[in-house]
Amino acid sequence: MSVDKDIVKRVARLARIAVSDEEAEALKGELNTILGFVEQLNEVDVTGVEPMTSVVAVEMKKRTDVVTERDQAAKIVANAPVREEHFFVVPKVVE
């Protein structure tokens, strides 16, 4: 698989990263090199092999249904660039 400039621009837009036309051109080359490297994996026949989800065979840990964290709004918004009455404040977004 390889990417063209349009795909680079679209991926950048989905990731909310501003990419100029020149940058997209350069990124196209870099991305194709990475994809080409990864594509070597296609040489291995994995027919019938389950995708691996973990390097160790463990079951997912579950928490009990107990409230352990609350009333820490000040801590939650402490690093927000703009906040008011413990709300995060962001540039207006309306659907």
């Binding site: 989905l14 909310r16 989800t53 973990s54 463990v58 079951e59 997912m60 840990k61 579950k62 928490r63 009990t64 249904d65 107990v66 409230v67 352990t68 964290e69 609350r70 009333d71 820490q72 709004a73 939650i76 918004v77 703009v82 008011e84 009455e85 413990h86 709300f87 995060f88 404040v89 962001v90 540039p91 207006k92 977004v93 309306v94 659907e95």
Partner: protein
């Protein structure tokens, strides 16, 4: 497409200018899981709360935070699957659904995509006209709720509260087996009832704890499915009906005028009773789902499922069957009683040791009617099960007449008290003493000689006499005794 459900019923079709159209509806219902803590964090799920007070560092997506799944949310999803007669998947996978919005701090929602926890199931829906429809369930999966953006606090800024962020939701997806607005409403009502019986979602639509995305399309009967529109986030059962009716007519109008239906997302405006396009989406969503590397697959064994199944409560369908089979109630009365768990429990407490049909009649007609008029729930009924039971006992014993019982009910409703004591104190006991009733009967006949003559030609007039005697006794005379005595004395 479920072929069994594809047989169109003419009564469900809508008439267009150029012939009949069939409505096809499928629903995606978001039900908030009943749990203390969130799906992947130890923050509380309670409604309300000061801004960002129900938030953990995981819910705020602080760097380095890792999700740990709440076992109870898993159990609730499995219970719900069992309640929907659905396949339970012993292995399921959490995926990331990627999109940007300020109330989604992670930049993705943890959801389940290709391998949900619950697969295909069914919901049996009984309609008011006696029809029974089986609506297929496609799947149920667990996912996180998002936070809330508030846009009206500031001219140029939006306020974000993450209290709901990370709360566990079950998305329940139906098959497109629904053929009318009434069926859709009945389906959602039944689903809500099942969830409430199971205790897996409180079904509170006003708080947004249960909401539906409604997919609507129209077609000529027997033809392939038409293009659908999705009406997002409808938060009342009545609105679901209105939205479908409006949307189906809009689509029929569009097609009949030579246009085509565009697949799109629409919003229902309850004020205008219409659906509107959400035009802001200029580009199609590209969610780029992939398995969440922070979470292992969700796995459990059949023994775990069996254990949860053993602990399930009796569900509405089984309870209805019992009410009809063991109690001899009509299917309609049984339906009315089982729809809300609290009503069914109240009825059972009243019916215990009494005639179930009389108990049903009082709960459905007198109590529920009265509660409805005042917009109250049975949980805060002023008349307790013991009080209503005592009123029914007093009728059964012949201590009071059915008519007096209604007055007694009003007194107990308004003032409370032990019905037996009220009857004693206010002299409401029925007069069964034949001598006393006979005196009243004689009095009425003597005062109305003309009518006493006429009644021999028009026996229907007997009712007038009964009424007069009952009135004279202030409703306390035993109506059967009055009737018998009048017939004897008037020679009817």
């Amino acid at each position: 497409m479920n072929q069994a459900a594809a047989k169109p019923r003419t009564s469900k079709l809508i008439k267009g200018a150029t012939g009949d159209w069939e409505i096809v509806v499928g629903m995606e219902v978001h039900a908030q899981v009943t749990s203390h803590a969130k799906l992947f964090s130890g923050a509380p799920t309670g409604f309300g709360g000061a801004p960002n007070d129900h938030v953990s560092l995981v819910d705020a997506a602080m760097p380095g935070m890792l999700p740990v799944i709440n076992g109870e949310c898993v159990a609730q999803a499995v219970r719900t699957g069992l309640g929907l007669d659905a396949e339970i998947n012993l292995r399921s996978v959490f995926d990331r659904k990627n999109y940007f919005y300020p109330d989604l701090p992670q930049g993705y929602q943890i959801s389940q995509y290709k391998q949900p926890i619950v697969g295909e199931g069914t919901v049996t829906v009984d309609l008011a006209d006696g029809e029974t429809v089986t609506v297929g369930i496609e799947r149920l999966h667990l996912e996180q709720d998002a936070g809330k953006s508030i846009h009206d606090q500031h001219a140029t800024m939006s306020f974000v509260d993450l209290n709901r962020s990370g709360v566990a939701l079950m998305e329940i997806v139906s098959k497109p087996d629904i053929r009318s607005a009434d069926q859709a409403k009945a389906f959602l009502t039944k689903l809500r009832s099942i969830l409430r019986y199971l205790g897996t979602c409180d079904g509170d639509m006003e708080k947004g704890n249960l909401r539906a995305d409604v997919n609507v399309s129209v077609r000529r009967p027997g033809e392939p499915l038409g293009t659908r529109c999705e009406i997002k986030n409808v938060n009342s059962i009545r609105f679901v009906g209105q939205a479908i009716d409006f949307e189906a007519r809009r689509q029929v109008g569009l097609i009949e005028d030579g246009g085509t239906v565009e697949q799109e997302t629409r919003l229902f405006d309850p004020g205008r009773g219409e659906t509107r396009s959400m035009r802001s989406k200029e580009e199609a969503h590209d969610y780029r789902y992939f398995p969440d590397p922070d979470l292992l697959p969700l796995e459990f064994d059949q023994a775990y499922v069996d254990q949860l199944a053993a602990g399930l409560p009796e569900l509405p369908d089984a309870r209805k069957e019992r009410f009809v089979g063991a109690f001899g109630l009509s299917p309609y009365d049984a339906d009315v009683l089982v729809a809300e768990k609290e009503n069914a429990e109240y009825f059972e407490a009243v019916a215990e040791g009494r005639d179930p049909k009389i108990a049903a009649n009082w709960v459905i007609n007198e109590l529920a009617g009265r509660l409805n008029r005042e917009g109250r729930e049975i949980a805060d009924s002023p008349v307790s099960t013991e009080q209503l039971g005592a009123i029914i006992d007093l009728i059964g014993e012949g201590t009071i007449s059915g008519k007096i019982a209604k007055d007694l009910f009003e007194i107990v409703w308004a003032e409370g008290g032990d019905p037996r004591v009220v009857v004693d104190e206010r002299g409401m006991k029925q007069v069964t003493d034949t001598g006393a009733i006979e005196a009243l009967v004689d009095e009425i006949i003597a005062a109305n000689p003309d009518k006493a003559r006429q009644v021999r030609e028009k026996p229907a007039m007997l009712g007038w006499f009964v009424g007069q005697v009952m009135k004279a006794s202030q409703g306390k005379a035993n109506p059967q005794a009055v009737n018998a005595l009048l017939k004897e004395k008037l020679g009817v």
